[in-house]
C-alpha cells in the first residue's frame, strides 16, 4: 500500500515537471528591466526589525527594574524619611503611568502581527 502510494507520488512528480510555463510576451524581460531601471535603487537597511524589537525589550526591562528599585527604596525609607518616601512614591506613580503609556502602544503593535489578517483571508479561499 505504502509502496503504491510512493509510486503515485513519484509519477505525479514526473508529470508535474512538465508543467513549467514561460511568459508569452517576447519582450517580458526587457519590459521588466525597464521598470527596474526606472525604480528607486534599493538601499541596505542597517537597522532591521529585530534590532528594533531588541531595543523595545531593553526599554521594557529597564522600566520594570526602575519601578522595582524605586518601590524597594521607598518602602525601606518609609519609617525614617517620611517626606523623601512620599516624593519617591509620587515619582514611582509617574514612572508607573509613563511605563503604562509606553506599554499600551507596544501591546497593540504586537497584537497587529498576531492577528495575521492575510493568513486568515487566504484560509477563506481554501
Amino acid at each position: 500500500m505504502k509502496e503504491k502510494r510512493e509510486d503515485i507520488e513519484k509519477l505525479t512528480r514526473d508529470l508535474m515537471k512538465r508543467s513549467i510555463l514561460s511568459p508569452e510576451s517576447a519582450d517580458f524581460d526587457d519590459q521588466l528591466m525597464q521598470k527596474i531601471s526606472e525604480a528607486p535603487a534599493p538601499i541596505a537597511l542597517k537597522t532591521n526589525g529585530s534590532d528594533a524589537k531588541k531595543a523595545w525589550r531593553l526599554w521594557m526591562i529597564t522600566i520594570v527594574f526602575l519601578i522595582g528599585s524605586l518601590f524597594i527604596v521607598s518602602e525601606y525609607l518609609a519609617g525614617y524619611f517620611t517626606e523623601l518616601s512620599r516624593m519617591l512614591t509620587v515619582t514611582l506613580n509617574y514612572v508607573f503611568y509613563g511605563g503604562m503609556a509606553l506599554f499600551i502602544p507596544f501591546v497593540l503593535f504586537q497584537l497587529d502581527s498576531l492577528l495575521q489578517v492575510k493568513t486568515w483571508q487566504r484560509r477563506k479561499l481554501t
Binding site: 512538465r18 510555463l21 528591466m33 525604480a39 493568513t119
Partner: protein, 186 residues
C-alpha cells in the same frame, strides 16, 4: 550565489538583477498562472512581484532563500488580484483507484512532449487557485511542507489536505481529457 547578486544590486548595479529574472522568471510565472489562470494577468503579477522584490531587497534579511521570499511575494500579488472572487469545483471527477493513476500516467507519457505539457496545464488550470499553487510548489519545485507553509501562509495540515484533494482532482481531469487514449490502454 544569490547572496552575491543581492550585494551587487544593493551596491547600485541594477543590471545584476537580471540574474534573478533569468533564474526565477519561469517558476514565478507558473505560480502566478496557478493562481490567476490568465496569461496576461499572470505576466503582470510576475512583473509586479519582481519589481516589489527589487524595491524591498534592502529589507530582505536572508533568513530564508531568495526564491522562497520571491514566491511569497508572487503569491501575495496573485491573491490580491483574486480578492472578492470565490472559487468552487463544479465538475465531479468521481473516485479513482490506484491502478487508474498508473494507467493515466502511462497514457500521458506516451504523448508527445508538447501534448503532455498542454494536457497537464489544462488540468492544472481547472484546479482551484490554492490547489494548483500547492501542487506546483510541492511536485514541480519540490518544496517541503514547511517551506510551502512559509510561502503560502497555509498550515501544514491544510497543505496536506490540499495536496490530497488536488492530486485526486488533477488525475480526475486528466482522465476526462484523455478518455479515449486511456480506454485503449485499459
Amino acid at each position: 550565489m544569490d547572496s552575491e547578486y543581492i550585494q551587487k544590486v544593493l551596491q547600485g548595479d541594477a543590471n545584476a538583477y537580471r540574474y534573478f529574472i533569468d533564474k526565477y522568471r519561469d517558476m514565478a510565472y507558473s505560480l502566478a498562472m496557478s493562481i490567476v489562470k490568465d496569461p496576461p494577468i499572470a505576466e503582470e503579477v510576475t512583473q509586479d512581484a519582481f519589481l516589489r522584490a527589487y524595491k524591498s531587497l534592502g529589507k530582505f534579511e536572508q533568513r530564508s532563500k531568495f526564491s522562497t521570499w520571491l514566491y511569497k511575494i508572487v503569491t501575495n500579488e496573485g491573491l490580491k488580484r483574486l480578492r472578492g472572487k470565490e472559487f468552487r469545483y463544479v465538475e465531479d471527477v468521481g473516485e479513482l483507484r490506484d491502478p487508474e493513476y498508473v494507467s493515466i500516467n502511462q497514457c500521458v507519457t506516451e504523448l508527445a512532449e508538447q501534448e503532455q505539457k498542454y494536457y497537464i496545464n489544462v488540468c492544472l488550470k481547472k484546479l482551484l487557485p490554492n490547489d494548483s499553487l500547492v501542487m506546483r510548489l510541492f511536485y514541480l519545485e519540490e518544496r517541503t511542507l514547511k517551506e510551502i507553509e512559509e510561502i503560502t501562509g497555509f498550515s501544514v495540515t491544510n497543505i496536506k489536505t490540499i495536496l490530497h484533494r488536488a492530486r485526486k482532482r488533477f488525475y480526475g481531469y486528466l482522465k476526462i481529457e484523455l478518455k479515449h487514449e486511456i480506454n485503449s490502454i485499459l
